[in-house]
């Protein structure tokens, strides 16, 4: 199996799906000639030409809105919003248009629209380029929200998103672009949306970790294994709809659950998991579901703040120890 970076996995997914289905096209700021602000669409302009790979004006509302219209008219658009922090400029098209058209119009239109966007949490770029807004879009019915944590997941999930007839927000993490993994070399390699992945099996504590936090949870699990604590690490992969069955099966077994994410604690990803698992597994739990999340503040400029605000491996280890105490 070839080894690919997270970034190339994304490119490959798009290239394969564009080759497979000529209804698929890509548009966004700097995605064509420049190959993407972060290089995540390199080569696609050359491969598919300027009709299917398009540089847009800096007009977030119509980037998404044209995606909606083109999808209603039979295309399968992939649109890129450069940073997830910019969603406030196009949320109406996402939440009221893309997410609701199939519903409102009684299923007469499909909405095969992928909105690719990037989170730059922990990259030190300051308050407007540092947010983890998966919970924000997770609150909108009719959307699927996907957040891959490895190159292989990125490829398999993005291919599934492009083949999905529903609007999918696909959240990439710039900080992961260069990590590498072996990926199946199969044009039909897909990872299903809506299924969580048990990234490491364990029996003492369930750690639900998403995005950037998955690798840290695995590192923490490794360290804790040394102390004889067996940690099960679950990566939901899909933020909405969340696969609570997999998570609750794990928690029923372990009786302890920690949720780790880059999403703010308040009204965030952790709260959603804690609420549902707290309910489903109430009588199995030995301890309340704990959340490790950045505190409820914006992120100032500079990496030292990011490190302070965001959970790291040490914090996960400490939180798991606490749960075991």
């Amino acid at each position: 199996m070839p080894t690919k970076t997270y970034c190339w996995a994304i490119i490959d997914a798009m290239r394969e799906e564009m080759a497979r289905d000529d209804k698929v096209f890509l548009m966004g700021e700097d995605v064509a000639a420049a190959g993407g602000a972060f290089g995540a669409s390199r080569g696609l302009l050359d491969a598919f030409g300027p009709i299917r790979v398009r540089d847009t004006p800096i007009s977030e509302e119509i980037i998404v809105g044209m995606g909606v219209g083109a999808a209603m008219a039979g295309r399968r658009p992939i649109v890129e919003i450069m940073f997830i922090d910019f969603l406030g400029l196009c949320l109406d098209q996402i939440a009221n248009q893309a997410a609701k058209s199939h519903y409102i119009y009684d299923g007469m239109f499909k909405m095969p629209l992928v909105i690719r966007t990037s989170s730059a949490v922990e990259m030190g770029i300051g308050p407007h380029h540092s947010q983890a807004w998966e919970a924000l879009v997770g609150h909108i019915p009719g959307l699927k929200v996907v957040m891959p944590s490895t190159p292989r997941d990125a490829k398999g999930l993005l291919k599934s998103a492009i083949r999905d007839d529903n609007p999918v927000i696909f959240i990439e993490h710039i900080a992961m672009h260069r990590i590498k993994e072996e990926i199946e070399d199969d044009e039909d390699f897909l990872i299903p949306i809506g299924k969580a992945d048990v990234k490491r099996a364990g029996s003492d504590v369930s750690v639900v970790a998403s995005g950037l936090m998955v690798a840290r949870a695995l590192a923490a699990a490794e360290r804790l294994a040394g102390d004889g604590i067996s940690v099960e690490v679950i990566d939901p992969r899909t933020i909405s709809p969340l696969d609570f069955d997999t998570i609750s099966a794990s928690v029923s077994k372990t009786s302890r659950c920690l949720v780790v994410s880059s999403s703010h604690k308040n009204f965030g990803f952790g709260s959603e998991v804690a609420a549902e698992i707290g309910e489903r597994c109430f009588f199995d739990l030995d301890q309340p579901v704990r959340r490790l999340s950045p505190p409820f503040t914006p992120a100032p400029f500079g990496r030292q703040f990011d490190q302070f605000l965001n959970p790291d491996t040490d914090a996960i280890v400490a939180a798991v120890r606490d749960l075991m105490a």
Binding site: P57, S59, G69, A73, N96, Q97, S101, D106, M108, M111
Partner: protein, 315 residues
């Protein structure tokens, strides 16, 4: 759509009758919710849509019945949709502000002012990619031209030479606020030039003028010459919605505009052309009866079952 004069007149009549009969329902408290009446603007929708094919797209707004009907949506499912009935074209889920018909290229209404513009641009982009000469039309009010989506859409349509026709129905008011009080320059069409988009100002109460302008715009779009903004100067006879006491304008102004009734005006034109009054009279009666039948159909239809709210969240 055919362009023969009787069909054009009939199309306006259908809208006129629908609006009149819906207002009656409302007065009798038989309408569930708001009615955004299209009375007085019939020439806009009909003039524009008379030059479109079924494969062309339209995107409507909150004041959409005229657009739906002019583009050919069947009366009964349209009417039932307005009343939120299970027999409605969207099963009654969309209601007064949302109807659609993919087979006719009707891509829906909207409850969000301005949101249809990017959607129309997207449909135009798809049409351009298809390369079959289809065009997309977006209908919006002058009030919507103050929303950010307007400038973004004009710009991308010009940059990409999209087969998009932006149809602004300037009926002078946005809800209770006169347009003139919210702008520095009163002609929406004038904004097109700066973005590199062709534009025309048209008498929106003159169906032939609208049709002619639409024809020019459609021709340009089909020929790959890009977008056009048409500003149709018109008036909504009713309030923003039925029941609005219309304190923001005078009864005199309303009377003046009613005197410029687009339906009566085209009727006079037909009479002048030599169409017999009898023929028009029986057409009018037939349309009234047809609409009444649709209303009855809608009233008699069941509501969708509440549990159906759980369906179709995802495809």
């Amino acid at each position: 759509m055919t362009q023969d004069p009787i069909t054009l007149y009939r199309s306006m009549l259908v809208i006129r009758e629908c609006e009149a009969q819906l207002n009656e329902l409302f007065a009798k408290n038989l309408f569930p919710g708001y009615i955004h009446s299209y009375l007085g603007q019939e020439a806009c929708a009909v003039g524009i849509c008379s030059g479109l094919n079924d494969t062309d797209y339209i995107v409507s707004n909150h004041r959409g019945r005229g657009h739906y009907l002019a583009k050919g949506m069947a009366l009964k499912p349209m009417m039932a949709e307005m009343l939120g009935k299970a027999t409605g074209i969207c099963g009654g889920r969309g209601g007064e502000m949302h109807a659609a018909d993919p087979a006719l290229g009707i891509l829906g209404g909207n409850g969000i002012v301005g949101a249809g513009m990017p959607i129309g641009a997207g449909a135009a982009l798809a049409a351009q990619m298809d390369g079959l000469g289809a065009v997309a039309v977006v209908f919006f009010g002058e009030g919507a031209s103050n929303n950010g989506a307007f400038g973004e859409t004009l710009n991308v349509a010009a940059a990409w030479n999209l087969p998009l026709i932006m149809v602004c129905e300037n009926n002078l008011y946005a809800e209770m606020t006169p347009f003139a009080q919210t702008v520095g320059q009163p002609d929406v069409a004038a904004r097109a030039t700066g973005y590199g988009v062709a534009s025309e100002i048209v008498d929106g109460n003159d169906v032939l003028a609208v049709r002619a302008a639409a024809g020019r715009a459609v021709e340009r779009a089909r020929a790959g010459e890009g977008p056009t903004l048409l500003e149709l100067k018109t008036y909504r006879w009713g309030g923003h919605f039925e029941g609005d006491p219309r304190k923001y304008r005078t009864r005199e102004e309303e009377a003046e505009w009613k005197a410029r009734c687009p339906v009566a005006r085209y009727r006079r034109h037909l009479v002048a052309l030599g169409v017999e009054a009898d023929r028009l009279g029986s057409l009018e009666a037939a349309v009234a009866a047809e609409v009444a039948e649709a209303v009855t159909f809608a009233l008699d239809s069941p509501l969708p079952p509440p549990e159906s709210a759980l369906l179709k969240v995802f495809a």
